[in-house]
């Protein structure tokens, strides 16, 4: 199968993720959408890696997975502490600071 199709799929997943970040209200779901964007990046990296016939893209994909895992640790810690304080993980409720 032509690897370019995987690029289209990656772009589609990335767009879905980005749209989700913009429209969803729950911080956890927003965060999951960001993870979806990272995975779309992984897919495109691997598709490019196959097109070019070198391993750089696959190696970056491994690093991205580690970064995503580290981001989950930090992000969930912050979101859970916010939730325990306010009993809500809605990003719309976090508005103590405004212009």
């Amino acid at each position: 199968m032509n690897p370019v199709n995987y690029l289209y799929l990656a772009a589609l997943l990335f767009t879905i993720g980005a749209t989700g970040v913009l429209v969803r209200r729950n911080a956890i779901v927003v965060f999951m959408c960001i993870e979806l964007m990272l995975n779309a990046c992984n897919l495109s990296l691997i598709a490019f890696s196959r097109m070019h016939g070198n391993l750089d893209g696959q190696i970056i994909a491994f690093f991205t997975m580690v970064v995503a895992a580290a981001e989950v640790v930090v992000g969930l810690a912050i979101i859970v502490s916010l939730f325990r304080t306010r009993h809500s993980a809605s990003v719309d409720d976090a508005r103590l600071m405004k212009l």
Partner: protein
């Protein structure tokens, strides 16, 4: 896009018939050239071990000692490398092409280390807050996991817990920031971005007072930062797809069309400008988010206001240095062949950043938000130097970053001193008459504000002059006009704060200026000294910056 090249890869690498495994050449790592980064990251790991094994009582002093020694040793290593000629004649690329050791990298690493050291002193300050249950407390939560106002928080405060993890987190952030402007391939760029961002997200959430604001700031910073880094990563993927490599030098060759041997797959992708333009735009966007340029600035005021003030000072100064270093390297090393495309965009971004930063700052009533918008305006001024696209542009940006970072870290250190019963008194109305009550602190803060405004005899003037001169010579004269006009607008609100401090009556219930330990005093003194020295006698440092102003490729 031929499939045969791909399958050749695995057939070549397959084990030979006799069962022996093909030898992989060991990578060569230039440990001496990487020593500044390795000292700092090593000390951060050591800090984690201190956290695990040293008794709670001794942790604060142990962590402070490890961090201070590491930052000082890292700076000594940077100076040793620079004296050894690695900034000029022996500049090169280390670690199998991952990290560049050259003038801009060493200069910015030195600045980041010194700013990190000054910020460390403000992190370690324990005399500003009144002692709780006989224990001296710093600006960080007793126990970050406890819910604000709950019994567990009270128990943690009573037991005298402190979050000494902030010291290793600071070191990790400094380590990532040192790699960021030195990264010589896109993978290292991305990893360094995350290594310095993740500790900053955590540090933002750790304030002792106003914890709701702090947690809110951390969530906003985290979600927007992760969103921006996802875009950066997609840009990296597209640039990799375009050039078939993540190495800066290789991508630059492909962009310029000077690449020697073109594989069939590369011939297919390097003609595809969509990959190049979109990839370059997305990576640049991620970096502009980190420097806080309009339209990617929305996180800046909230995060600066909510984060603990020592963290804000560190973040505002060191992040900007690191991110502008990376942006310079990206635009000057990877994408010089594309400058007719990125320069017009950067023109627009710089102009809008200067104008919006300066105008919105006028309406602010909180000193930390005011400084946040001022940092946005300054990002615009620095971008004007970036646009020059000539050697003077690089050296003027280096100088501006050095000057600006010390002013910022000093100004936020002063903000930590002005306190009332609720902690720091950041509302501007409370600063009225501060000059009558505490003339020295107000005078030092006035010096910082004058430096932000770019008044002569302060470092801000020398920096702004260098940047605008480079921009004008680089053909961006209209941008310089916009810059000077928005400087004038910005000067209005800096002067307004000075007038408020010195020429209005102090309120009876106004804040007091806390008596700081030598740590914060040193931090403020260093900030003020650098501000004045760089303003009165900038020539030596301008020469240093121009010597350091050549990227290696």
């Amino acid at each position: 896009m031929s499939a045969s090249a791909v399958h050749g890869l695995w057939t070549d690498l397959a084990a030979p018939a006799d069962g022996s495994i093909a030898k992989i050449p060991a990578p060569t790592i230039e440990y001496a050239q990487l020593s500044p980064v390795m000292i700092v990251i090593g000390a951060a790991v050591l800090g984690i071990l201190v956290e695990a094994f040293v008794p709670r009582r001794a942790r604060y002093h142990a962590q402070l000692f490890v961090s201070a020694v590491a930052l000082a040793a890292g700076f000594a290593a940077v100076v040793a490398l620079a004296v050894g000629g690695h900034a000029t004649t022996r500049a090169g690329i280390a670690a199998e092409g991952a990290i560049a050791v050259d003038g801009p990298a060493l200069f910015l690493q030195g600045v980041i280390l010194l700013v990190g050291l000054v910020a460390l002193f403000t992190f370690a300050e324990r005399r500003l807050d009144p002692a709780a249950h006989g224990n001296r407390v710093d600006s960080f939560a007793a126990q970050a996991a406890s819910v604000p106002g709950s019994d567990s928080e009270k128990a943690a405060v009573k037991a005298g817990f402190t979050t000494t993890e902030v010291f290793p987190l600071l070191l990790f952030a400094v380590g990532g920031m040192m790699v960021f402007p030195a990264a010589n391939d896109l993978l290292t760029l991305f990893i360094a971005l995350e290594v310095f961002s993740l500790p900053l997200y955590l540090l933002c959430a750790l304030a002792r007072r106003k914890r709701l604001l702090s947690q809110e700031a951390a969530v906003k910073y985290f979600l927007l930062g992760a969103f921006a880094s996802a875009f950066t990563l997609f840009g990296i993927a597209l640039l990799y797809g375009y050039a078939g490599s993540v190495s800066y030098g290789r991508i630059a060759q492909v962009v310029e069309g000077t690449v020697g041997e073109v594989s069939p797959a590369l011939a297919g992708t390097m003609g595809n400008d969509v990959l190049l333009l979109l990839g370059a735009a997305l990576v640049t966007m991620g970096l502009l988010f980190k420097v806080g340029a309009v339209p990617f600035h929305m996180w800046t005021p909230d995060v600066y206001q909510g984060a603990p003030t020592p963290v804000t000072g560190f973040m505002a100064s060191a992040t900007k240095v690191a991110a502008f270093g990376a942006l310079l390297r990206l635009l000057y090393v990877v994408l010089p062949g594309l400058r007719w495309d990125w320069r017009p965009v950067m023109w627009g971004v710089a102009a809008v950043t200067m104008v919006i930063g300066a105008i919105v700052a006028i309406t602010q009533t909180d000193i930390k938000r005011l400084l946040a918008y001022s940092s946005i305006a300054h990002a615009g001024f620095i971008l004007a130097g970036v646009i020059a696209a000539k050697p003077e542009g690089i050296s003027s940006v280096l100088f501006y970053l050095a000057a600006y970072s010390f002013v910022t870290v000093g100004a936020f250190a002063v903000v930590t001193l002005v306190r009332d019963a609720g902690g720091e008194a950041t509302h501007l109305s409370k600063w009225a008459g501060l000059g009558r009550r505490s003339p020295l602190v107000a005078a030092v803060f006035a010096v910082f504000l004058l430096a932000f405004a770019g008044i002569p005899l302060t470092s801000g003037f020398a920096g702004k002059f260098a940047v605008f001169k480079a921009a004008a010579e680089g053909g961006a004269a209209p941008l310089v006009v916009v810059g000077v006009l928005s400087s004038a607008v910005a000067a209005f609100f800096y002067i307004r704060v000075i007038v408020l401090m010195f020429f209005s009556e102090p309120k009876p219930d106004g804040p007091t200026v806390a008596v700081a330990s030598p740590l914060t005093t040193v931090a403020i003194a260093v900030g003020a000294a650098v501000t004045v020295v760089l303003g009165v006698a900038p020539q030596y440092f301008l020469d240093l910056a121009s010597q350091a102003g050549t990227f290696v490729r």
